[in-house]
Symmetry: C2
């Protein structure tokens, strides 16, 4: 068993359980009444713990919100990478990104809604953590796609263009769906956007077979 830091032991099982239950309770409250409107008391009641406990684990209300956000993003990222690694072609991979986005969002609607609701207004520290998480994720994804670009199956583009081109449309659709502007669930658009994503980044020249 490796120790974290010098003399710091691993967190106990009970600790992890409590943290998880708080995050779950917080998501529930945020979803029901919005972030600003939920009070520490609300979360406390929903998680069945004391104020002291909340502050011991998270430091502040914002701390809870940040943790929930970062954990949500991480979960999404891991799922995406796992899904990608089951693909065998460029086309399948690109389409898998769109499909996974669609599926995950539909399956984790409350969390997805929370993740869409804000990505600003966090502390410097949280921003930095988020950036790290994102960069590690992007590095993994790019490592996956790099061979397809090198092999001429996908267009060579500025690095920052791929994510928006592939997942921009489905993300925008989901955002509006979550906000109640669109009626039909993302699943209805899945294949349309998957094909569009592939068209946007496939190598040119070879027209549709």
């Amino acid at each position: 068993m490796r120790k974290i830091r010098q003399s710091r032991a691993e967190p106990r099982a009970a600790t992890l359980a409590r943290r998880a239950s708080v995050l779950e309770a917080a998501l529930e409250c945020f979803t029901r009444s919005g972030i600003d409107a939920t009070t520490i008391g609300d979360i406390q009641k929903a998680a069945r713990c004391s104020v002291g406990s909340l502050y011991h684990h998270f430091g502040s209300k914002e701390g809870i919100a940040e943790e929930l956000f970062i954990e949500g993003i991480s979960r999404f990222n891991h799922g995406m990478v796992r899904r990608l690694k089951r693909c065998s072609s460029a086309e399948e991979s690109v389409k898998a990104v769109v499909r996974f986005y669609c599926d995950w969002t539909t399956r984790n609607r409350a969390l997805a809604s929370y993740l869409h609701s804000r990505d600003i207004d966090f502390s410097e520290e949280a921003r930095a953590r988020l950036k790290t998480v994102y960069q590690r994720y992007i590095a993994e994804v790019f490592a996956w796609f790099a061979p397809f670009v090198a092999g001429g199956e996908m267009r060579a583009l500025p690095a920052d263009a791929y994510v928006p081109l592939i997942s921009g449309p489905i993300q925008e659709y989901v955002r509006r769906w979550l906000s109640g502007h669109y009626e039909r669930p993302p699943g209805a658009m899945k294949e349309l956007f998957a094909q569009a994503a592939w068209n946007a980044v496939r190598a040119e020249g070879r027209s549709e077979e």
Copy 2:
């Protein structure tokens, strides 16, 4: 001069000026310290007015945030429609959407950042107003594009697919740029995304000339 409601007079010039100055001050504060961290006192000081005045005009802190949001969206929408109406072809129109998004965002960075930061966590009433604003806007834009679809220059797609396909990528890029994940300003991607948007919705068959 038409009257609003029964006996309600038009708002005075001074009122409009004060409201505008408050919104301006609020945006400044929100940009500097984040929405949660700015206090009513901060806005009050920045706008040089009393607490009573703030509450008279906006009802609450959230009221200020909502008003700023809705007004920002409206300004963007008007600008977009105006720009669209100067276009003469389908291709020019589609590309104009992307370019305008890019230009407006760069020109109004603080406001754009605010508009991207949240679209949830508003009161029911504000949500309803937003929905109305959005639907009116969409109706105008669709009226503009409908002839191109009918004329076979653009693909016939589910109505809800056009916005994500055309502006999803640039929007996603801008979002990440505003969050500090991307270095290069949106202008650097303008033509790339404009062309991609056109490719995504142009009628098929006629390959690139």
